[in-house]
Symmetry: none
Subunit: 226 residues, 2 copies
């Protein structure tokens, strides 16, 4: 669950925020001065901090610096002051966003979501490796690994492999392969395919003469089977 640290010295505001956040399934901690804010942040490791600038003990900017000394947790400043200088100072001290009171709760929540999303590690899209029983193809790193050792492929071999792997399981026609790898002028040079498919099989198949992953569909094309 996402954890939020609310820092404000006005009890009403804290209460309003806490109620709203808990209703949306956030886990909420609250501090009403700078010192306890820093303590709570260290103890609870929140995913986002909502920070009022007007605290009784520390200047809000000091709190930001204190946090930035050891964490990159998103900090959203809440402040009644509209002055441009204050905003610049807080942002340059390390704040991520600056919202002036009074603010709409919807907007604040959207800004929180944006800040949290941004802080997430790049999770997705890294699924660029294809694994078979015999070998592993890493499309991003342009690497092929077999039995723990990297296999060297020539540019043409790699290009051909890439087209086949990106269409894993599907039949790719000879015309399409030739066009993608050698260009539109070579759409009839089926010779090339035979030569390079053989080389790929020799480098990657356990038994090159009985391929299991690079299947020939006579008269039609080739298919890569993971």
């Amino acid at each position: 669950m996402t954890r939020v640290l609310v820092v404000d010295d006005e009890p009403q505001i804290v209460r309003a925020l806490v109620i709203n956040l808990k209703a949306r399934k956030y886990e909420v901690d609250a501090a009403h001065d700078g010192a306890s804010a820093l303590e709570l942040a260290a103890a609870r490791h929140p995913d986002v901090v909502l920070l009022d600038l007007g605290l009784p003990d520390l200047d809000g900017v000091e709190v930001i610096r204190g946090l930035r000394g050891w964490t990159r947790v998103p900090i959203i400043v809440l402040s009644a002051r509209h002055s441009s200088d204050e905003k610049v100072e807080a942002l340059d001290a390390g704040a991520d966003d600056y919202v002036t009171k009074p603010f709409g709760m919807d907007e604040l929540l959207a800004r929180m979501r944006a800040a949290i999303r941004r802080a997430e590690p790049v999770a997705g899209e890294d699924e660029s490796t294809v694994v078979t029983e015999g070998f592993t193809v890493d499309l991003a790193a342009k690497k092929v690994n077999r039995d723990g050792t990297d296999i060297r492929l020539t540019p043409t071999e790699w290009h051909l492999l890439e087209v086949l792997v990106r269409n894993a399981g599907r039949l790719v026609s000879q015309t399409q392969l030739l066009q993608e790898v050698w260009g539109p002028a070579y759409r009839t040079e089926t010779n090339y395919l035979r030569v390079y498919l053989a080389q790929l099989r020799r480098k990657l198949e356990a038994d090159p003469s009985h391929p299991r992953h690079f299947i020939t569909e006579p008269g039609m094309g080739y298919r890569f089977e993971p």
Copy 2:
């Protein structure tokens, strides 16, 4: 240098932004509709996007989605609309910040700095040093150590090493290397790569003629293996 993409259909606003940003040593590209914004973003890889929501062709939110399909570049929305719904929609679509016109230039710049800082890779303690058997690269301190002594690298050598090390294990194409180190106009000068790779190997490899860490993939590019 930090690159900014400004997207707005009102020429005055674009002009004002461009002047202000260039005065502060940002590199600026400008687009006046959504389609060219997406194109420019793909071509130039900006470090931050300033996006007006009211574009002639696409809805601003569509532009955000288009960008978020392939990049996490910070997007700061500039809009004349104060409605909370609009803000929520833009932020949830993937925007990082939402500034309502008219805005103070100081504040916008501070929000830009915050967005850019946040997007920076975790430079500190995390994994800013890469260690191999022969040498150690400290990306944060810009230092290379070998057998206890620091190795001096020229700016170009360092830049090249940095790109390779940041993509450790992955293959980096010659085009990408040339573009990152020398700029888009030099994408075909593979000469440079050969010369500077040789210098890097001479300074860092135990046996420069049989490199173990700076691997050549003929016809494709180079790869740094830790």
